[in-house]
């Protein structure tokens, strides 16, 4: 009995010591920051998938954030203070990303947070930010499920949610005379909220137009062989093929379709075709491939030219969509910070930033953005197509750089 009570006392003492140590760490973390708050840099915490499945786009987002930070610092900072980024690697892991934001907010005592890449990481990250009352602007969580979790602090810094990516294409197809519209369509989508969202947004609209869906395949993200999926699509002889894809699956699927000599009238894939590595991987067989995109370096929005010039000088090549979305995130948060006049972890300041974004429009490199209650941006994506070997905007007509090729050349 005695020994049991001794153990209990020891355990309690240990727990108490641990708690004290922990709170000590926490308070020292934040007080260290508070001390330097007035004249020190604004600390921005970010977790990104720098390794693992999403490392490719994750690094693009990192380049965009870093370019934005150095641009801001060269131009007088935010509220006259420099910005400093703390970027952690979540290894494309949803558990890691939540722990990362906990650490950034709790231990590192950052003043602001920016979102990670991909819907699967945005949702757990946004939950942590919400728990601490932080504003959460994110560059890459476009799937509908991001906006149905009841987040009150989230804003997606891009022109449109996943379901609306193909809207311009759907509208164009609907405007065609009956005999020019596709009769059948084949869909293949990665089992990923974003990738599926893009494809199924178009699928619903085509079905409403009376197009018959002859293939509807969903494959897990770790799929390595696309031969069988391609065989199903080729066998269906669908007029149009739509891929709800990320990068590697789109490339593998396109090559598999080519190997089966399937020649659709129209082929559209999310994400990959706008990636600079895409023509390198596919070679000269890209002609006519369509893709929705939220960004083009050629867009005439006011801040875009400056962004493209600055980024190109810094990195040696023009920015792609991931870099642009990251830069946009920076612009959105900066607009709120400048308007409200504060940038600290205090819930009152964070709430003011959130409230300001709810009620205002922000000019960005992807155009002016406003959001609904759930954080959905109120716009649509551009549709790009490979025309004469280069990717160009073809829809909507007022922004088009080239005419839409309706009958895709053989690939």
């Amino acid at each position: 009995m005695k020994s049991r009570s001794t153990t209990f006392v020891r355990l309690t003492a240990l727990a108490a010591a641990a708690t004290l140590a922990l709170t000590g760490c926490m308070s020292s973390g934040s007080s260290g920051n508070e001390g330097s708050d007035d004249d020190g840099a604004i600390q921005i915490g970010i977790s990104l998938p720098l390794t693992g499945d999403f490392s490719e786009p994750g690094k693009g987002v990192q380049r965009g954030y870093e370019a934005w930070a150095s641009y801001v610092n060269e131009n007088g900072g935010l509220l006259g203070r420099d910005v400093e980024l703390t970027i952690l690697d979540d290894q494309s892991n949803a558990d890691r990303v939540a722990a990362d934001y906990e650490k950034l907010i709790n231990q590192d005592g950052v003043d602001l947070v920016f979102g990670p890449f991909s819907t699967r990481l945005v949702v757990p990250a946004a939950q942590v930010a919400q728990d601490y009352g932080f504003l959460f602007v994110e560059p890459a969580g476009a799937a509908e499920e991001v906006f149905t979790q009841g987040f009150e602090n989230l804003f997606y810094a891009a022109p449109a949610v996943a379901d609306d990516h193909y809207n311009h294409l759907a509208e164009h197809l609907e405007s065609l005379p009956d005999d020019q519209r596709p009769k059948t369509a084949a869909f293949a989508a990665m089992d990923d909220p974003f990738a599926m969202g893009t494809a199924y947004g178009l699928k619903d609209k085509l079905e409403a137009m009376g197009v018959e869906i002859v293939v509807d395949e969903v494959y897990p993200p770790n799929t390595t062989d696309f031969g069988s999926i391609a065989a199903k699509i080729a066998d269906s002889k669908a007029d149009i093929v739509v891929g709800g894809t990320q990068y590697q699956d789109a490339v593998n699927l396109i090559v598999a379709l080519q190997q089966l000599n399937y020649q659709p009238e129209m082929a559209a894939f999310s994400t990959a075709p706008t990636n600079p590595e895409f023509p390198e991987a596919i070679g000269d067989k890209t002609e006519g491939i369509l893709s929705p995109t939220g960004y083009t370096p050629d867009a005439s929005y006011e801040s875009n030219q400056e962004f493209v010039d600055y980024y190109t000088e810094l990195n040696g090549n023009p920015p792609a969509e991931d870099e642009a979305n990251a830069w946009t995130t920076g612009q959105v948060v900066a607009a709120a910070v400048e308007a409200v006049g504060c940038a600290d972890p205090d819930p009152e300041c964070q709430q003011q930033l959130i409230d300001w974004l709810r009620g205002n429009e922000v000019d960005t490199v992807v155009g002016p953005l406003t959001w609904d209650e759930a954080g959905r941006p109120q716009g649509a994506h551009l549709i790009q197509q490979y025309v004469d070997g280069a990717i160009r905007i073809v829809l909507p007509e007022e922004a088009a750089e080239a005419d839409l090729i309706l009958d895709k050349p053989a690939w």
Partner: protein, 292 residues
């Protein structure tokens, strides 16, 4: 009908690739009870070397085999002699999982560091080329991968069955002490056996790179199915691994038609569970590691 035929063709070609990728794994286990988690990481390393070779020289990636096969053989021998042979025999199987797991992480990290996380693909003039047989399309790159698999596995089989080294290796597998008694240097033989397994990874990785987009973490997607193949085939049995790979590849390809991709992929794991329940020594191997 044509979809069925096409799926059979795709399934057989895929099975051939699986067999090549899994051959090394079954060899390591057969030779020295080593569970080699890093095998698929070496596959991706070979794929990267093939890609790097082609992008920097403009030559066909298959030529990179001249360098990578001996290189991987050498790495395999060194790995066995310097690392794996130091593990205690009693806990070898378990510790080898931990050791090779860490090697896989090192390779992945190194690939990311040297080549970045950017997804790479070898662009070949014949990458999308195919020809038709009875209404089914046969992709040239898939056929090359299949041929590589057939030649390497046949070569491996002949080497193990017909040569003195093969005899020594089999003796080492069956009864190391008896082998030592008759004058076989079992340590050296085990090292060569491991090197041989890794040499198949060089060929397999190159075959993989012909028709796949590669990135550093890709190996995690492969190790599961490959482990399933060698367990179903019977650990240590090369023909077992080959037959299991063909059956599973074909099964996956055919199940795809009615069930879709997600369920077709679980076929591997269903087969794994079934094997462990009904015939833990594997369907095509006999007594563990007694045969090739």
């Amino acid at each position: 009908m044509s979809l069925l035929l096409q799926s059979i063709v795709l399934g057989v070609l895929l099975g051939g690739l699986y067999a090549l990728l899994a051959a090394g794994l079954t060899l390591y286990f057969g030779v020295m009870r080593v569970v080699m988690i890093a095998h698929s990481a070496f596959l991706i390393l070979a794929a990267y070397l093939a890609w790097y070779f082609t992008t920097s020289t403009g030559l066909d990636p298959l030529l990179s085999l001249v360098v990578t096969v001996p290189l991987f053989f050498g790495i395999g021998v060194l790995m066995q002699r310097l690392l794996l042979s130091r593990l205690r025999p009693a806990t070898l199987t378990m510790m080898s999982v931990l050791l090779t797991f860490s090697i896989a992480l090192v390779i992945e990290g190194m690939l990311g560091f040297v080549f970045t996380g950017t997804q790479r693909r070898i662009r070949l003039d014949y990458g999308a080329a195919s020809f038709e047989v009875f209404g089914a399309n046969v992709a040239v790159v898939k056929l090359i991968a299949f041929a590589l698999a057939a030649v390497s596995l046949l070569g491996l089989y002949v080497l193990l069955k017909k040569t003195q080294f093969g005899q020594a290796l089999r003796a080492t597998i069956q009864h190391p002490e008896a082998a030592r008694l008759v004058g076989i240097n079992t340590d050296r033989v085990a090292g060569y056996g491991f090197g041989l397994g890794l040499a198949t990874a060089a060929i397999g990785g190159t075959a993989l790179a012909l028709d796949s987009t590669i990135y550093p973490s890709l190996h995690w997607h492969w190790i599961g199915p490959l482990m399933a193949i060698i367990v179903v085939g019977g650990l240590g049995s090369i023909p077992g691994a080959a037959i299991a790979a063909l059956v599973l590849g074909l099964g996956q390809s055919l199940l795809q038609i009615p069930l879709g991709t997600t369920w077709a992929q679980t076929f591997f794991y269903a087969a794994l569970f079934l094997t462990l329940m009904v015939r833990p020594q594997g369907f095509f191997g006999g007594r563990l590691a007694q045969r090739f």
